[in-house]
């Protein structure tokens, strides 16, 4: 009983950590690209990237359901390999990645846009490869923004409800995350169980905010590379 009672916590932790990991790289790649992209479709692409936080989560969930459903393009593709995403644990990750992506993307893009292009160019004149410039010049300078972006993405995926419920369902012990469990516990009158999960979510949220404050303080004290250092 205690095991199933706390199963939403383990599912949420696995989902949130996997999601943050994936969103971290996707968001940074998209942000870095868009920060220096000035083509004709800039606004269109930008709009598409932030669409998930503009739309109600249930609508995003419905979109994903259509996409991954048996008749959808991705669902049909997956059924060739005899797998299905709908109602599976990976579905919780897919929903959370889509919903947390805009926050990771927007916040880290802000960080990249703040980076003085002359500093990158200086590194280029010294013969550094683009890859090296990105990791040793751009990333350290944008690091405070990236930390904020990661925490936001983490928090968003921890609270994700609507899209998850649509795509992954509410299967206890398999896809029931903390927010879904809280909602259905309240709906069915199990206030005690709901409160335990609310306290857990609050604890995780405050811990991540504390981590944010700590990292930011650290980043401020030891900016790894300053213009003078170049």
């Amino acid at each position: 009983m205690t095991e199933s009672y706390l199963s939403p916590l383990w599912i949420s932790l696995q989902t949130v950590l996997t999601t943050t990991f994936i969103t971290f790289f996707l968001g940074i790649a998209a942000a870095r690209w868009m920060a220096r992209y000035s083509g004709r479709y800039r606004n269109l692409i930008d709009g598409l990237f932030i669409l998930p936080i503009v739309l109600p989560p249930t609508v995003v969930g419905f979109g994903l359901l259509v996409l991954f459903g048996k008749n959808g393009p991705l669902g049909a593709l997956l059924s060739l390999f005899d797998t299905s995403i709908v109602f599976s644990w990976p579905a919780t990750v897919i929903a959370a990645v889509i919903m947390s992506f805009p926050l990771m993307y927007m916040t880290s893009r802000g960080g990249f846009e703040q980076v003085d292009i002359n500093i990158e160019n200086a590194a280029r004149t010294l013969g550094a490869s683009e890859w090296k410039i990105f990791w040793t010049v751009t990333m350290p300078l944008a690091w405070p923004a990236i930390v904020s972006a990661t925490i936001l993405a983490f928090a968003r995926s921890l609270g994700e409800f609507g899209a998850t419920l649509m795509l992954a369902g509410n299967i206890p012990g398999k896809t029931t995350t903390i927010p879904v469990a809280i909602y259905f516990n309240i709906q069915s009158g199990n206030m005690d169980q709901a409160m335990v999960l609310v306290v857990i979510v609050l604890a995780i949220s405050f811990a991540s905010l504390a981590a944010l404050a700590y990292w930011k303080g650290k980043a401020r004290r030891t900016v790894p590379i300053t213009p003078e250092a170049l």
Binding site: F21, L65, G69, V86, F87, M166, G169, I186
Partner: protein, 260 residues
């Protein structure tokens, strides 16, 4: 990049227990995927526990509102058995050809009741008493999308008092909200299912809707036609009608409908 390597390691460790055993043990035992109205959660969990003790079929339930479940089935979600809280969603699926022919049966009956806060001094013991000027606010689910609200409106219409009652109505987005309003005394009375009223010790059932209305409140069950386990799915439905399941359903305030 130390940090990334560490993150990766943490992830690998965390994800292993999830993907590892699941990948190894899924082959022989049959798992039935049930999509059930969330109002059955407590009862069905208990019944499924019994069912799994009896045989080697595993049962996995997705609980949500009947409308959400209907949408998921329409989009080809892997579902073997659907238990809906209203005929409407099942009708739609039947008309669109998602059900196995003749697998649909009416499983349960529920009742709409009128509740008042525990300790209320109001003299309400039938729906008509709500016309009294002492009753200024009545909570019920929005009849446009909350099934309990739809039946409550039908009850008022049957009694011919919907027009007079309407200015007093506070419409909730779900049954739980209605229960909260009544529990906290924000409204003098509320309308919801008998099974929801049974969840709270702070409300008292004052009256039940007319039998003509309550007879319409059924929970149908059916096998979805994309199932790969039609046989076990049918046996599972038989179990829901059996004596063990009946005892549990009745404990939670549902009536199991007798099969003719």
């Amino acid at each position: 990049m130390n940090l990334l390597v560490r993150l990766g390691l943490i992830l690998a460790v965390i994800c292993f227990p999830l993907t590892g055993p699941a990948a190894c043990s899924s082959s022989d035992a049959i798992t039935l995927n049930i999509s059930s109205a969330a109002s059955l959660t407590a009862a069905l969990d208990e019944i499924n526990h019994q069912y799994e003790l009896n045989g080697n079929v595993r049962v996995q339930v997705n609980y949500a509102s009947s409308g959400t479940l209907q949408t998921q089935i329409e989009q080809g979600a892997p579902v073997d058995v659907f238990i809906s809280a209203a005929a409407k969603q099942m009708d739609t699926l039947q008309n669109k050809g998602f059900l196995i022919n003749n697998s649909r049966r009416d499983l349960l009956n529920n009742r709409v009741v009128l509740i008042i806060p525990d300790g209320s001094s109001l003299a309400v013991d039938e729906f008509g008493d709500l016309l009294d000027s002492a009753v200024s606010k009545i909570a019920m689910g929005d009849p446009n999308f909350v099934p309990a609200g739809t039946y409550a409106r039908a009850a008022f219409e049957l009694l011919g008092i919907y027009e007079q009652i309407q200015p007093k109505l506070i419409l909730g987005s779900d049954v739980r909200q209605v229960l909260n309003y009544v529990e906290n005394g924000n409204v003098e009375a509320g309308l919801l299912y008998a099974t929801d009223a049974a969840l709270s010790r702070h409300v008292r059932v004052a009256a039940a809707a007319p039998d003509e209305i309550n007879a319409q409140i059924v929970y149908p069950v059916a096998v979805i036609n994309t199932t790969k386990h039609a046989g076990p799915a049918g046996e599972y439905i038989d179990f829901l009608f059996g004596p063990e399941a009946r005892t549990i359903f009745e404990k939670y305030g549902f009536n199991v409908i007798d099969q003719v």
